[in-house]
């Protein structure tokens, strides 16, 4: 079986120890988490993990089974890239002088559909959302000018298909 990129979505109760429990499942199998994002979900008091891994479908099935087995996990899913809408966000901190001295930078920013978040006397910050390749392209273009700081977030994604967690929770409540 070929390795592929999978996005695992986990709906869970908001619990302190759960991240540890979930990351342990990957650790046991030596599967590197490429990106991890935890946030609130569309349901009150329910958290959503978005975990990106590169592995085989057999392993991802196995892992999702093990994740779903955890007491506080409500439901876990996995998807390949084609089945989700996903993006990452990146921040670039750049010396302010360049913005005024280098015309080219202004064009790069304009063309990249990124946003200037703040400008101060010493530096300005650009925010760019998109796919990994778009962010990398911008990074490569800005690099020759000198990037003071760079940071990229984990992937966030929504599935194209319905996940129906609310219905599931309703069913559980009425059980």
């Amino acid at each position: 079986m070929e390795n592929q990129t999978f996005t695992i979505s986990v709906y869970s109760e908001n619990n302190v120890g759960l991240l540890n429990r979930i990351s342990g499942i990957f650790l046991k199998r030596h599967i590197n988490i490429l990106s991890l994002n935890v946030s609130e979900s569309e349901i009150e008091n329910v958290s959503r993990f978005v975990i990106v891994v590169h592995t085989t479908e057999k392993w991802v099935q196995n892992i999702v089974g093990q994740i779903e087995k955890q007491i506080e996990v409500i439901k876990a899913f996995y998807h390949i890239d084609e089945e989700t809408i996903f993006l990452e966000n990146a921040l670039f901190k750049i010396e302010s002088g360049l913005l005024f001295d280098e015309k080219l930078i202004q064009n790069i920013i304009k063309e990249s559909n990124s946003e200037i978040v703040t400008v101060s006397r010493d530096f300005f910050v650009i925010s760019k959302s998109g796919r990994r390749s778009d962010i990398e392209e911008l990074y490569n273009k800005l690099k020759p000018f000198g990037i003071m700081q760079f940071v990229r977030s984990g992937r966030i994604s929504v599935s194209k298909e319905k996940m129906e967690i609310s219905t599931l929770l309703e069913e559980l409540k009425n059980k």
């Binding site: 869970s12 109760e13 120890g17 540890n20 429990r21 342990g24 046991k28 099935q61 196995n62 089974g65 093990q66 779903e68 087995k69 007491i71 506080e72 996990v73 409500i74 929770l169 559980l172 409540k173 059980k175």
Partner: protein, 564 residues
């Protein structure tokens, strides 16, 4: 009218009583002292057994749970008390044993400060618990304890650890208890899909060479009678995994023996010849399957299993019935056609004859001068008549026990299966006997494993629990030595044991003790042990370099099982 306020420590005891617990195993220490103070006050209602090491508390709780089907409880202090529980917790996790461990923890204000005897037991125990939780406020105690017991015993059972900070034990609050009946994110009893049951029945009825393999799920799911009914009606040969052993009486005629690495010849060989493999409450452990690439590839596999994560994990199924096995078997039974599968059974019988001649006769009636482990087990059978609970440790003696012990009733084979924890048997036997005081409990232990938890002789002495202890002494770590002989050209690296005078040690604990070195003394010694009303220690010097056969070498196929 307000409820009376009580301390967190008292609440812990009241929760245990609410859950029907009357026996706990533990060891006191600084961070759990308020709970022990309450144990003192409640000693008429809740019996606490002081073990000699916290690991012993977990194994005793496990032995209790395995023999009774109830939740075992172990209590320890923070730091080393808590870390000493970890082996038993890991053992309970892999063998699906319901257990609740309660640990003390430093006060909330000291958490994370590297205080005396502080350890992150939540972090440490996370990978080996079904669930764990740290209580830092007294008011959390009732809800968390109720959840702990519910989680430990429901679905696929397992160990739960509740860590309670010292302030939460001291603080007072208004106590009220409500049993946990459900957790929205946790579905312990999947809804049975009757269509899957029908599909399974159709495959089973059409099969020419169907084969049942069952595991501990039958015992945990209390489905022994239904299994028997299913086997009887369908006439299908049935084999057990080590943890499934005793779910059906060993003398039951449709039994075809034990699966796996040291299992019987016929069920292993014929796993690769059956056309439909019906797995009931078992998880296709590697010790059962051997090489997965060559495991039952010709067969359509039906898997009855309560844990969704086990389905298709190791073996791809044709039909998966995700459900409580008792409910599923009850639903299956009406669809099953009467059959006898005589010629198929004869194939098992033919292969059994080969094993009998090549292995079993030599083991049970050895021609060598030295006593064999198998004949010792057979001698115990003679005197127990198959009514004893056999608690085995880990190694050759364990395999001989599982291969040759006779069992008439369920929950009678207590052993460390998945984790293979040496040192398990002595404390587990204590728990089994306390849980089932009317049954005979015999611990079978090697000279290696015995010395891993030998201190629990102290618990036996203090509590006067009448367990029978049999040490099969070959002055070797026998199973490792066997592998060294077979796969490492007899390089016996660190497997030879120079042992102390075990009888003197047992007598030092005032336990009646005897040592047998000659075959002619074995019968009388076992008879005396079994007749004893008190605990009894019997050391049997056995043949030093005997091997357990048959054997599936690691990585080999089940059908490549060796007879020598």
């Amino acid at each position: 009218m307000g409820t009376k306020k009580i301390s967190g420590a008292e609440a812990v005891i009241r929760c245990l009583l609410e859950e029907g617990v009357d026996l706990v195993y533990g060891y006191p220490g600084g961070a759990i002292m308020p709970v022990y103070d309450e144990l003192y006050k409640f000693k008429d209602q809740l019996h606490h057994v002081l073990v000699r090491h916290e690991q012993g508390a977990t194994h005793a709780a496990q032995g209790f749970a395995r023999a009774t089907g109830k939740v075992g409880v172990a209590i320890a202090t923070s730091g080393p008390g808590a870390t000493n529980l970890v082996t038993g917790i890991a053992d309970a996790q892999i063998d699906s044993t319901p257990m609740v461990c309660i640990t003390g923890q430093v006060g909330k204000h000291l958490l994370g400060s590297d205080a005396f005897q502080e350890t992150d037991i939540i972090g440490i125990s996370t990978p080996v618990t079904k669930w764990n939780y740290q209580i830092t406020e007294a008011s959390e105690i009732p809800e968390i304890m109720a959840k702990a017991f519910y989680i430990a015993r429901s679905g696929r059972p397992g160990p739960v650890l509740v860590d309670i900070t010292k302030n939460a034990q001291f603080d007072e609050f208004e106590f009220s208890y409500k049993k946990c009946t459900g957790i929205r994110s946790y579905n312990p009893k999947p809804t049975l899909n009757i269509e899957k049951v029908k599909e399974a029945a159709e495959l089973i009825n059409k099969a020419k060479k169907p084969f049942i393999v069952f595991g501990q799920g039958i015992i945990l799911g209390q489905a022994e009678e239904l299994l028997k009914a299913f086997v009887e009606k369908s006439g299908i040969p049935a084999a057990w995994t080590i943890l499934g052993l005793s779910a059906l009486p060993t003398e039951y005629p449709l039994n075809v023996g034990m699966l796996g690495m040291h299992g019987n010849y016929a069920p292993n060989i014929l796993t690769n010849e059956c056309d439909v493999l019906i797995a009931l409450g078992m998880r296709f452990d590697d010790r059962v399957t051997g090489n997965l690439e060559t495991y039952a590839k010709q067969a359509k596999v039906i898997h009855f299993e309560i844990d969704a994560a086990e389905i298709d994990k190791n073996v791809k199924t044709e039909v998966a019935v995700l459900a409580d096995v008792k409910e599923a078997l009850a639903a299956l039974l009406p669809f099953i056609e009467n059959n006898a599968h005589e010629s198929w059974h004869n194939e098992f019988k033919e292969l059994y004859k080969i094993e009998l001649e090549a292995v079993i006769n030599d083991e049970l009636k050895p021609k060598k001068e030295g006593i064999s482990m198998g004949e010792t087990i057979e001698m115990i059978n003679k005197h127990s008549k198959g009514d004893a609970i056999m608690v085995s440790d880990v190694g050759q003696h364990q395999m001989f026990t599982c291969r040759y012990a006779k069992f008439n009733s369920t929950k009678s084979n207590v052993t460390s299966g998945g984790l293979g924890t040496m040192g398990f048997a002595l404390p587990a036997a204590i728990g089994a006997k306390m849980g089932m005081p009317d049954r005979e409990v015999v611990a079978i232990i090697g000279d290696g494993g015995f010395q891993m938890t030998i201190q629990e002789l102290g618990t036996i002495f203090q509590t006067k629990v009448p367990v029978k202890i049999v040490i099969l002494n070959n002055e070797f770590l026998g199973m490792v030595r066997q592998w060294q002989q077979l796969f490492f050209d007899r390089r016996y690296a660190s497997t030879e044991m120079t042992n102390p005078n075990f009888v003197a040690i047992a007598e030092g604990y005032y336990i009646k003790a005897k040592k047998v070195t000659k075959r002619e003394d074995l019968d009388a010694a076992v008879a005396e042990m079994m007749a004893s009303k008190e605990s009894y220690f019997l050391e049997v010097m056995v043949e030093k370099e005997n091997n357990v056969f048959p054997m599936i070498p690691t990585g080999a196929s089940v059908s490549d099982i060796r007879l020598s």
